[in-house]
């Protein structure tokens, strides 16, 4: 709601608006932190979602200035809780992790995390049966939204949303199988 006499800075944000702004600003960071902690794309997706929802619940009590650190703290704690509850995932220790970082930094063909993950995701997407393979590829690799896909394919948006939901479930199962193997 805009205060008539005020400037943009005087604008009183609703909780939903604050959350929306936070998601826009920090979703990549939070998601990446979650991914770093758990090493699982789909678990990271859930954890990022939980992180923002937890922040939303506690938005009234948050008085700190460093929103980024606060969100990352929630994300890492949730990630560690997840690892504790699953209790069997192999995550590199501190030393190994930093060794890897140094090696990566030093290598001439610096491997981009995003590319690596995307390639792996693309592989999983292609393993799905049609039309879910195309839908998953469009969502996860081409970063298309449901309405865009619906327009391109000439299908109802609800149908596409359902297909995305199913494709995600299939990918999760596939990913889980491969990890456990």
């Amino acid at each position: 709601m805009l205060i008539c006499m005020g400037t943009v800075q005087d604008r009183k944000w609703t909780k939903e608006e604050r959350l929306s702004r936070m998601v826009d600003t920090y979703q990549n960071l939070v998601f990446s932190v979650c991914y770093k902690v758990v090493g699982d794309y789909f678990a990271a997706e859930d954890l990022a979602q939980e992180t923002f929802l937890s922040a939303f619940k506690n938005l009234d009590t948050f008085e700190g200035a460093n929103e980024k650190a606060w969100l990352c703290r929630i994300a890492t704690n949730k990630g560690i809780d997840y690892l504790r509850s699953s209790g069997r995932r192999a995550v590199p220790t501190e030393d190994i992790f930093f060794e890897q970082q140094v090696e990566d930094r030093g290598s001439p063909e610096e491997i981009c995390l995003e590319e690596e993950v995307r390639e792996r995701l693309l592989g999983y997407c292609r393993q799905l049966r049609p039309p879910y393979n195309e839908i998953a590829e469009a969502v996860y690799c081409e970063e298309k939204k449901a309405d865009e896909i619906a327009r391109e394919r000439g299908e109802n948006i609800k149908t596409v949303q359902t297909q995305i939901y199913r494709a995600r479930d299939m990918l999760r199962k596939l990913y889980g199988k491969e990890r456990s193997a």
């Binding site: 929306s20 990446s32 932190v33 758990v38 939303f56 890492t76 990630g79 190994i96 995390l113 970063e143």
Partner: protein, 167 residues
């Protein structure tokens, strides 16, 4: 600090310093874009949470709902007690000859009805068991039926028909 820092097989939460290092590491090495639908999912969930909270905060409504619930429970308990205590007394009190005599009367009426029905069914069975002869006798009277039956028997003899019992 690693992401999932382990201390003797246990994962422990990061210190501020470790967290800073992790954030710096992630920011330096390129961040990963989450799925496009993530924001949509979060906002949807958040709206749901906000709606639930709004409902919960409204104390007046909660109190009213509680009062209605209490009234319903008290009403139901009162009705149950009334049924247990008052209704049997009303039934007994409504009959001048007392409950046991009244029940006896009802049983006798039922027995009478049962006997009449049994009699009727037995008659019907006898008629059926009598076959064609019995049926005709019942329909036309004894003398006429006798004649009809003899004609029928003659015909069956002539054409080789038999009265079969299919039961």
């Amino acid at each position: 600090m690693s992401e999932g820092n382990r201390m003797g097989g246990e994962y422990r939460y990061m210190t501020d310093k470790e967290l800073e290092a992790l954030i710096a590491g992630v920011e330096d090495h390129g961040m990963l874009a989450p799925p496009v639908y993530l924001k949509e999912l979060i906002m949807k969930e958040a709206k749901g949470l906000a709606a639930v909270r709004k409902k919960g905060i409204d104390k007046k409504t909660a109190r009213r709902v509680l009062m209605v619930y209490r009234a319903k429970v008290i009403g139901a308990a009162a009705a149950a007690i009334f049924c247990l205590v008052m209704v049997p007394m009303e039934i007994d009190g409504g009959k001048p000859d007392g409950s046991s005599q009244w029940r006896q009367k009802v049983i006798e009426e039922d027995m009478k009805y049962y006997q009449e029905e049994s009699e009727r069914l037995r008659n019907e069975m006898e008629i059926r068991e009598g076959g064609f002869g019995g049926f005709m006798e019942n329909l036309l009277g004894e003398e006429t039926a006798g004649k009809a039956v003899s004609i029928w028997n003659g015909m069956t003899g002539l054409f080789g028909w038999e009265e079969r019992d299919y039961e």
